[in-house]
Structures are given as C-alpha cells and as structure tokens.
C-alpha cells in the first residue's frame, strides 16, 4: 500500500516528539510517587506535578488548585456532571445539555435519569449551533447545571461559550464545558467566559493518551463535586489514585506548545483546510459542507459527497485515514446523531466524511488527498445507481424505495 496519510486529528493526534522528550526522564529515573511526602523521589514528582498543574491551569486563566488530573475527557465529563448532580441534588434535579454533545456527556446525563434527574437537550440549527434563547427558556428553579461543549468533534463548530457563561451566571446555574476539541485552537479564559467546570484531554493536542483534566472553580462560586473514584484522597479528594507523573509532564508540555504556537498553527491549518475545501467542492459536483462555515475549528472539514456512501468511499482510499458519519462506520448502524440533529437528511449523513487537519499535516498530503478523493468519488459515482438516476433527470424523492 502507498504511504498512509493521517487526516483524522479530531479522533486523536500523534504525539509531538518534544512532548515525548519531556516525558522520558519520568519513567525510569524520576519515577517517584507524588504522594510520597518523606523522601526526595516523592518531592521531585510532587514538584513537577505542581509545576505542570500550574502551567495547564494558567493556560485557561485558572489557578493551580482549580485543576484536577483525570484519565481523559471522558472521565472529566463524568466527574463534572455526575459530581455536580450528586453534590447539588438538594438544590435541584434539572440539567441542561445539547443533542450534539459527545457521548461521554450524553450517556452520563442519561445514566443520571435513573437517579431522578431530568435532562433537557437543547437542539441545534442546520449549522450545528445552539440557540441562546432556547437555553434561557429552558432554565428553571430546579436547574443546577448547564453543559455545552466548546467545539464539536464532528463538525468543528464553536459554540458561543462566553454568552452561555453569562446566561448561567445571571441565573446562578453552574456551567460545564467539554473543551476537548477547542483546547489548543481557541483561546480560553474561564473567568472572562464564566466557566465553572471545563474538561480537556491531552491526546487531542499532541500529548499522551490516558491523561486529561477537569477545571473546577474555587471562587465565586466554589464548586464542590461528589467524587466518582474513592481511595487515597488525591486531587483534594475529587479523584483518588497515584498521579501519572510522566503523562502529566507530557500533558503540560503539550499545553505549553499549543499555547505558544496557537495563532501560527491555526493560520497554517486553516489555509490547508480551505485549500482542501475549495478543491473538493469545485472539482466534485453535488457536495455539501456540514457545520457553520465561519465558526469552525481551523483544521475541520466535514463534507458530504452526494450519491456515494461514506464507508464505501473510505474503502476506495485506504491510504487516507479519515472518518465518516455513515451508519456503516458505527456499531449502532445509525448515521451520525450530530448530523441528524442538524436536520441533515440521512442520505447525506451516510455520505459524509470528516477531515481533520493537524500540526503535522503537510501541503503535499493535502494535495495527494484532493487527487485521491476526486478519483474515488468519481469511481464510486460510476458505480452508483443514484447518480445515474440523477443524471437521467429522475427525482430520487419520487422513487418507491424498498426500505429494509
């Protein structure tokens, strides 16, 4: 097979070699347990964890003690939502979130319905954006938490987080945001944006897998969480377990690099994305770009190629590593719920491909992808009875299909 091209940077990212370099000493030499209070190995680990925590917290305008390390954004979302729900259940049992959230938020909320919580799911418009009016109207005196993701993992749209934060503050409701996809691409200040809890993950920003964190506000208001993992009382009781020092060091290095290079990297990736987008939508007819054009992450392109099916298309270009909203790529055999929530017809969901351009994507790769996608879509359209019918002038909506 030809050389593989990785263009799925929303799923995960390769680790930056500078991150690996920073981590290396913390496996075999500086291996101490940060909780060992009485010897040099422990002090060394504790010191580097403290510095890392400070650096990460500072990158979002927070204080060192406001940041809890977890195993990743899935755990952070679980801890934020379930932790708040159980801690504040006397105050209310209502949580508001959005239909297009990551499953780590949706399934956590769903699980809480078995504990007597009621969930309101805000809709999204055809661009994937929430309505601030709908949010305001959904808040009741029983609402304890609003969870709205910062940037979406499929269509890359960035929600108006500052406005959401202001509404939550005005109504005295806690605000959690899953910023997993936004970190490193959008500048975040938890105070300016009135964010009370924020989830992140290192492997989406060229750091190691299995490490992430949760920002938990300490002042105005002081947010308290009921822990999910009990044990030695690490992380001020919110998340027990020996800290993963090498990964924490890697996480901090990844944040440091992302912070330093954010604007330059955004400029580079958005140029590459625009090149890809322009070429694909001019050289191929019947395409549709999914997600609000002027509010997307710089490296994101989610595009539907009408009359070809996403998994079939990915199979035609095995050297190109992307993902699809097609049912065939999911275990549920349902097309992407994010695209469905935007009111995109199922047929276009099946035809969608998500390209995720990242730090290590080169222009040569983008050029190669353009050629291969054009060639593959043409090949599959030659095979497509739908495309043939459309060329014959048949309206597909008038055909009596045999649903199965």
């Amino acid at each position: 097979m030809e050389k593989l091209i990785y263009m799925d940077n929303h799923a995960t990212t390769p680790m930056d070699p500078r991150v690996l370099e920073a981590m290396m000493p913390y496996f075999c030499e500086k291996f101490g347990n940060a909780a060992s209070k009485n010897h040099a190995f422990g002090w060394e680990a504790d010191e580097v964890v403290k510095n890392s925590r400070q650096l990460i917290a500072k990158s979002i305008g927070a204080k060192e003690l406001e940041f809890v390390f977890t195993s990743g954004a899935t755990e952070s979302n679980n801890l934020a939502i379930t932790g708040v729900a159980r801690m504040y259940k006397e105050k209310g049992n209502h949580i508001i979130t959005v239909v297009s959230e990551h499953k780590a938020v949706l399934d956590t909320c769903d699980a809480l319905t078995h504990e007597g919580f009621e969930i309101t799911y805000l809709g999204v418009d055809e661009n994937g954006m929430i309505s601030l009016e709908e949010l305001k109207n959904s808040i009741t005196d029983k609402t304890i938490l609003v969870s709205v993701m910062h940037a979406n993992n499929e269509i890359g749209v960035v929600q108006p987080i500052k406005e959401v934060g202001a509404i939550c503050k005005e109504h005295d409701v806690l605000f959690h945001t899953d910023a997993t996809q936004a970190i490193g691409k959008v500048r975040i200040d938890v105070n300016e944006m009135n964010i009370d809890l924020l989830s992140m993950s290192a492997h989406k920003i060229y750091g190691p897998k299995g490490i992430g964190g949760l920002y938990v506000r300490r002042r105005k208001p002081r947010v308290r969480l009921s822990p999910l993992i009990h044990g030695g009382g690490h992380e001020r009781g919110m998340r027990s377990g020996t800290l993963n020092t090498p990964s924490i060091v890697g996480f901090a290095k990844a944040i440091e690099l992302a912070d330093k290079e954010l604007e330059a990297e955004n400029e580079r990736t958005s140029k590459l994305r625009d090149k890809l987008q322009t070429a694909l939508s001019t050289r191929i007819d019947h395409t549709k770009i999914n997600g609000k054009l002027d509010a997307r992450l710089p490296g994101n392109l989610n595009i539907s190629f009408h009359y070809v099916e996403g998994e079939g298309l990915m199979m035609a270009m095995p050297e190109i590593c992307v993902s699809s909203g097609s049912a065939c790529t999911s275990s549920s055999l349902e097309p992407s719920y994010v695209l469905q929530a935007m009111g995109i017809p199922d047929v276009l969901c099946h035809s969608s491909i998500r390209f995720g351009i990242g730090r290590f994507t080169t222009e040569e790769e983008v050029d190669a992808v353009i050629e291969k996608v054009v060639q593959s879509v043409n090949k599959l359209r030659d095979l497509s009875p739908l495309y043939e019918m459309v060329l014959e002038g048949i309206d597909l909506d008038t055909v009596a299909w045999t649903e199965h």
Binding site: E309, G312, H350, P385, W401, H404
Partner: protein, 128 residues
C-alpha cells in the same frame, strides 16, 4: 474492520458494472434498498430461452454491498432461471466472509436477484 481477500477483490475490481435497457423484454431489473438506509442496489439480467446470458449491476453503499452485488452478477451469468432462484443470501455471505453487521448486504443482493427474476418473468409471461 478486516475484510476477506475475495470481498476486497470484488470491491476493487467490480465485475459487470453497468446498465441495460429496462424496457427490453428480455431484461429484468431489481432495484432494492433505500438511499436513507445507506444502500441501494440495481441488478439487471438478460434472459434468453430461460438462460441468463448477461448480468449487470450498480450499487450505492458500503464495500460489502458493492462486493455482494458484484458477486451476484458473476454467479448469475450462465445460470438458468431456476438455478438462479436457488442462490441464497447465506451463499453470498459465506463466499465473501461478511462480518455479522454486514449480513444485510447479502440479503439485499438476494432480494435484488429475486426482483430481477420476477420482473423478467412477468414481462415474458405478458408476451407469451
């Protein structure tokens, strides 16, 4: 998902791609599936003296759907109508070693075969 060699071969080198004249009395057309379900197969056969002398397909769908219909056309060619009726979805799924979530692709191919055979039979009955 790891696919079998045979499936990949049919997907990469699909046999008998194309279309025949739907109105021709010797041609039977089967059009099954639905765009919103993610797969549509069009399978056509040409029958003369109760023998399938040609078969063509076009498929919108995943690799398994394309391979299943390609294989079906290959098997149909040269068979009598009665022999063709004996082709079962399980024969297709076994030959291509379809993973469980893709079995419906072979079911669709069997449906397309039956619909094409019915179509050509009813046309030829009208004639006779």
């Amino acid at each position: 998902m790891a696919y079998s060699e045979k499936l990949l071969d049919h997907y990469n080198n699909p046999r008998n791609v194309g279309s025949m004249d739907k109105k021709d009395k010797s041609v039977g057309t089967g059009l099954v599936g639905a765009p919103e379900c993610g797969d549509v197969m069009k399978l056509q056969i040409q029958v003369e003296d109760d023998k399938i002398i040609d078969a063509k397909f076009k498929t919108y769908g995943c690799g398994s759907a394309i391979a299943s219909s390609s294989l079906a056309t290959e098997w149909l060619k040269g068979k009598s109508v009665d022999e063709a009726l004996k082709i079962k979805n399980t024969d297709i799924s076994t030959e291509l070693d379809l993973p469980p979530v893709k079995i419906h692709c072979s079911v669709l191919a069997e449906d397309a075969i039956r619909m094409a055979l019915d179509d050509v039979r009813s046309k030829q009955d009208d004639e006779g």
